[in-house]
Subunit: 352 residues, 2 copies
């Protein structure tokens, strides 16, 4: 398959990431980059980089460009995506795809109208931690029936000092990391979500959330919590999964392994109280060692280049795109329900 | 002060605990014990124990008994408490004080009518972990303004194999451990709670909750979560406290110290993205070591005998009782709101 010519629109942190990966890709050729601020070309110099466009129209009118990756602030996604689709380019948009469902529907409609591929860089489906949870806990059911999943990312910087602090640009943590964690949840559990409960932090920012805690209840009964913190000086685990016969935990940014403890022998006799802190408890008595087993589960392999490989094959009609429009709609609806839930301090019911 | 004569009604696990502590007390004399099942006297033999009563009336008609501690299954608390108060005995009731607010109001009314002291053994206000959180985080404000507290106890036995499995006896984890954790929350944060959101586990028990997750939002903005798990094979921390300028964490059943990380220097410059898992992130970039400080904070001292000391001094009118009727009402209302919240999957609003 001939490599597709890629142009990157927006040459900030993520634009740079796409450029670096494109140079290593077996399916795309980095054809050119464009940033509204040419100083960015100096911030991230790319030797022998092909074309540095001087305006968006030059990108879109370049007949050699097959595919554009849009990595601009979130409030500009819609306009540039639609314009690119109308110029016959396939589009990869950075996440969050849009600021709300209305914008997203316009973007999907443009893709359907033009017949050009439109997808979103939900790259964290390739994170090996979620792949391990999906494989070991969900698909292999190694912990028995899943009760709950807690998926957290914790930092302590507040919101980085750029447009992510501002509502007009689509800032805030729901749209930054929440979108990833929700997408991962639906990736691991494809069934319907029937309610959403959410709280937002406004610790150093009144305008946008600088942290969020979102609880999705699935029709299956699984309770999946996603949490983003930017004022957490000590980290809770990246993943904490409870099954009926075991628990799994992944430390934050561990890249290799998941800790698991599973029950080997049911203990049905009564329990002798133990002293815990200044009192006694039966409920909190520890299990005997013979009845449980602790394991270290290695993460599966993953290759982020599979994202671009899928996009390119989908452009040629050889595969369906992995990150689909219905999936984008679901994630967006859950983010909107989260904002509504936090605003009203109510549980939002529906089919998501 | 002459020691008060104590009779213990109900000689199971907690009755035994009270007996052992009474033998070491400087304010009460273990005068006698009573259990409906005399075999209990053999399960927990107490050498030279004074009187083993053969029926409840014998306890209550014994003029030498000043004070009774009631440690029977939860559904029997009300009747025995009221009867004891009517016989002129001061009453310490085990937690949860009653199955619902109606029962509690009858008990409080009996105390007011008879003039006999009535309180509840909320002994976990003497746990040194909550005392450390209260002292260091709440009172000294060492983490800055408090954002949230997460208070968890995790076990993996399910519900112990006795009456705690049955609804009729007041079983379930809200009434077992939830009551302690809610009482601790109100002990550390005396202000109003304005909403309650709760979920319950029914993993191995349809009749009563075998785990609960309760979120109390205080008028001050503090979000306080309490969680009881009985199917958690790996434990999350006992306490996790976020303040605006630091985080504190106490491992489950650590009896000595709290881990704290606080911010020393605000970092307001933009952040360079770091690789986390298979992608990059600005938000999750770690802080530079110079801007934070990690500390180990020792727990304060505590003496569980202070509970009985207070009760005895309150009986003599020399102190007010520490565990008050309004406090009992608040904890009960929050437990009731939790059941309602979980049943309806709704946030319950009110002033608690």
């Amino acid at each position: 398959m001939k490599k597709k010519n890629l142009a990157i629109i927006g040459y900030g942190g993520m634009g740079g990431w796409h450029a670096i990966n494109a140079r290593k890709s077996d399916v795309v050729e980095l054809h050119g980059i464009y940033d509204i601020n040419p100083a960015q070309y100096d911030v991230r110099p790319m030797r022998d980089c092909e074309i540095k466009y001087s305006c968006l129209d030059d990108v879109l009118n370049d007949p050699d460009v097959d595919l554009v990756t849009i990595a601009v602030p979130n409030d500009c996604h819609k306009e540039i995506t639609i314009k690119s689709l109308e110029h016959g380019k396939a589009v990869i948009c950075e996440k969050p795809v849009a600021l709300n469902s209305e914008e997203l529907e316009e973007m999907i409609a443009a893709s359907e109208r033009t017949g050009s591929l439109f997808t979103v860089h939900q790259n964290r489906r390739w994170d090996t931690d979620i792949l391990c949870v999906k494989d070991y806990c969900v698909e292999k059911e190694s912990l028995g029936k899943i009760i709950s999943v807690e998926s957290r990312v914790h930092g302590s910087h507040g919101i980085p000092g750029d447009w992510r602090k501002e509502k007009a640009h689509g800032g805030g943590m729901v749209l930054d990391w929440g979108v990833h964690l929700i997408d991962q949840a639906l990736f691991a559990f494809p069934g319907n979500v029937t309610s959403v409960y959410a709280r937002m932090d406004h610790i150093k920012n009144d305008e946008v959330d600088d942290g969020c805690h979102i609880v999705m209840t699935f029709e299956s009964g699984v309770v999946y919590t996603v949490e983003v913190g930017t004022c957490n000086y000590i980290n809770l685990p990246r993943f904490y999964v409870r099954g009926e016969s075991g628990t799994a935990q992944i430390d934050l940014w561990n890249n290799d392994t998941m800790n698991v403890t599973v029950m080997k022998i049911e203990e049905d006799h009564d329990v002798t109280p133990v002293k815990v802190q200044t009192g006694i408890s039966k409920t909190m008595a520890p299990r005997t060692k013979e009845t449980i087993e602790s394991l270290i589960v290695p993460f599966p392999e993953s290759d982020v280049h599979d994202f671009y490989r899928n996009v390119c094959r989908a452009m040629d009609g050889k595969e369906t795109q992995l990150i689909t429009h219905p999936q984008l709609r679901r994630v967006m609806k859950i983010m909107e329900a989260s904002f509504e839930s936090a605003e009203k301090n109510e549980v939002i019911h529906g089919i998501f």
